[in-house]
Structure formats: C-alpha cells, structure tokens
Amino acid sequence: MANRGSNRSRLLWVSLLVTSLFIITLDLRGVSLLTSLRSGTQSVIAPFERLATRAFSPVEDFFSELSNLGRSRAKIEKLEEENQELKNQVIFNQETLAQLESLKGVLDLAGKARYKTVSARVISRGGTGTFSETIVLDIGSDSGVRRDMTVVAASGLVGVVKSTTSSSSIVLLMNDPSFRIGVRVAGKQDMGILLGQGDDNYSLQMLSATSAISVGDVLLARGSSGDKPFVPGVPVGSISYVENTVGQLTREGKVNGFVDLNSLSVVSVVLAAVAGDPGDALVPTAPRPAPTATVFVTPSPTPKE
C-alpha cells in the first residue's frame, strides 16, 4: 500500500516537473500570455508598492528606535511622543531635501545635454530571489515612458527601462549581469563594451587591442540607433584598473560606476535627446582645489647693540 502511495506521489511529481518544463519552453518560444501575466502582476503590485514606500520611508529610524526597547519609562512617554512627531517631521524634511537635491542634479545633467526627460521616484527594488538588479519607478506609459528608454541620475547612467504599465515601470540597472552597453572613452574615439557584474564593479572590453586606456579615463555611452536603448553622451563610469593583456585581441579593464545604485530615490527617464550627441559636455568636472594662501616671512635683521 505504502509503495503504491509512493509511486503515486512520484508520478504527480514527475508530471508537475514536466509541466514546469513545458511552461519554460513556452516562455522561451515567446508566448505572449506569460509575458502578459508578468506585466499584469506589475499593474496589481504597483499601488501596494507606492503605499509601502509612503508608509515605510522613515524605516531606518524605526530600526534605530528598536534599540531603546526595554528602557522606556512611563513618565517620559508623553515627551517621547512629541519628540517622535518632531523627529518624523525632521526626517521627512531631510528626505524631501535629499530628493530635491537629486532632482536638481539630474535636471542639471539633462539640461546640459538638452535631453527631454521625465522624473520619477523609485518605489521598489528587485528581490533576492530574482538575481536581477532592477528598480520600480512610479511612472509608466501614461507619462510617456516606453520600453528601452535610458534612465539617468545626477551623476550619470542608471539603466534602461525593461517594461512598463500605465503607472509604473521596471528599470534594469546597469550592474545587472545581463546588462551590456557600448561606451567610448571621453576625449578619444576608443570604443568598448561595459558589462554589469551584479555588484559595484563593471568589466570593460575594448574593441581594439591598441586602445590607449588608462586609470581615471571617463567612459560615456556611445548611443544607439534611434536613441534606444541608450542616448549618447551619458557618463557611465571611470576606469579603475587596466589589465595587462599583451598579445590578446582586446584590452580589458575594471570600471567604477558614477552612480551609487544602492541609494537611488529620484531618477529621470530620457524621452528624447533633442540636440543629438552632446559629445564630452557631460564629463564630470574634477573638484577644483581650494586656493592656498602662501605667506612669505622675511626675518627682520636684529638690531646691533
């Protein structure tokens, strides 16, 4: 009897495995029903994500407050309540200021290159189980956002729009392992491909073995045909390491991205590059050293007695 039950569950298991493989095959063959299922889910989840963003934005404070548990005193409860209200207001103000700052930065960048942009708030990130680096924005096709549009932050490239619903869009971040972008070295014509690695480091493969690249060189997006998925001229990162590849077909290196992808709050989606390629106009300028005052002291001769 037990053996029969075991056989039955094994049969069920195998048939469900075969069904899974069938679903994978359908997806790989491009059956649109499965793609629609995912975008439908995004439409359902987006309002909840927005709600959660609003409710949990001061969450760091919540965790730091947890350390005070057990030390609460009844007599200061009222004061604590008032204090908390004020703190929340300060946190809200700080957060708004930080978002304003990012927005100002990204508008500066878009203004310099004359990109037509639409700004958005980040409402969620891709989860652990996905192994893909993504963010969710609070704007979608209603605001003119379409698949394959470039997304930028104040310091440079963030990623590319992967899919949209009417009120939200998913952006594939530039550190995703499947992310590839054609780049050129600022001030030169050397070209290469930047590859996402999943973390903060990027891999660079130049197209020619004779490319003269060195540490500190700034990389800019080369741009794509019709400006999709990448508009030209967006700062991508700077070379941090050049590999010794004597005798190989290409030169390789490591790159540090300009944008901290872990702390994005406001970004802009580039709807169109009105003025075409901005060239090297967006290369970040190195901070100017503050002038040092030099004081020359001439000793006065000591009077002789």
Binding site: L12, S124, T134
Partner: protein, 172 residues
C-alpha cells in the same frame, strides 16, 4: 492535497508574494537581501505530506514566477520549487523526528532556501542566463541565509500557525 485546502494555500502564498514584492523589497538589508517567500515556503513544506508538498511547491513556484522583476524564463522557479519540495518532503522529512523543533525548522529554512537559490542559478545558467560575478553570487546567497536565520523567530511561529490553519478537519 485535498481540494478544499487548495484555496487557502493559494491565498497564503499570494499574500506572501505581495508582502515580499511590495514591502520586503523596500528594505535596504545590510548584506544582500532577504527572501521571506523562500524561507517561509521551506518551513511550510517540511511540515507537509509528500503529495501536498509537491502541489504546494508547484503553486508557490508559479506565483514566484509572476514577479515582474525576474529576468529568468517563466517557469524556472516552478521547476526549482517543485523539484525541491519533493526532495524535502520525501528525503529530508523522513530523516527527521515527527515533532519538528523550531531549531530544525530554522536549519531547514536556511539550508533549503540557499539550495533553491543555487538550483535556480544552475538551471538559469543552463538556459543561457547571465549569472554575475562569483562575489556577487556568494554575497547574495550568504546574505539571504544570514537574514533567514536572524529573522526566523519572526516568521517560523507564523508558518506553523498558518500551516495548521489551512489543514482540513480530517488532516488535523
């Protein structure tokens, strides 16, 4: 699995999926991230009978595949969770005591969710997905294991209660 238990299981995992996507993904965890969905699923399945476990694995995997941020083909999580649920319910469960202690459930949740992530990566790589650098993978898997262990006092009692609530009168 009995038919009248199915809607309850479906509801539990759909709600959990919504919590994971809309809420847990908002938190900036120090090391990598935390998949409550996976840890919850593993702690659930270890309590289940073989047939129920396999069906639950299929349902949970299908729901996880709905995640719009996934780059992998649709059905990959269904395959991984169906495969793993059978192995857990038949091989691992048989080696454990009838009464599961919270410590055993914690160990199963941590080890099995890490195995699920590794299997997902392996099958993904076979299907031609980019998997990223070794440091990224190690950080993601170990970070998830760490948070699954640290937050277990919060979710394991909930798993036990919800699991019992979905049982039919005959199963109780």
């Amino acid at each position: 699995m009995e038919i009248n238990r199915l809607p309850k299981v479906l509801l539990v995992f759909l709600s959990l999926f919504l919590i994971q996507e809309a809420l847990i993904n908002q938190f900036d965890f120090l090391i990598a991230g935390f998949s409550l969905y996976l840890a919850f699923f593993m702690a659930w399945v270890i309590q289940d009978q073989r047939n129920s476990a396999v069906v639950t694995g299929f349902i949970a995997g299908f729901i996880l595949d709905l995640s719009p941020t996934i780059e992998a083909p649709f059905g990959l999580w269904t395959l991984v969770l169906t495969a793993l649920s059978y192995l857990l319910a038949s091989n691992v469960r048989a080696a454990l005591d009838a009464q599961l202690s919270p410590l055993v459930m914690l160990s199963v949740a941590v080890l099995a969710s890490s195995s699920a992530l590794i299997l997902f990566l392996l099958f993904g790589a076979i299907l031609g997905q980019e998997v990223g650098s070794a440091t990224y993978l190690v950080r993601s898997i170990s970070g998830n294991a760490l948070w699954s262990a640290l937050l277990s006092p919060l979710y394991i009692p909930l798993v036990i209660k919800l699991y019992r609530a979905t049982l039919t009168a005959r199963q109780r």
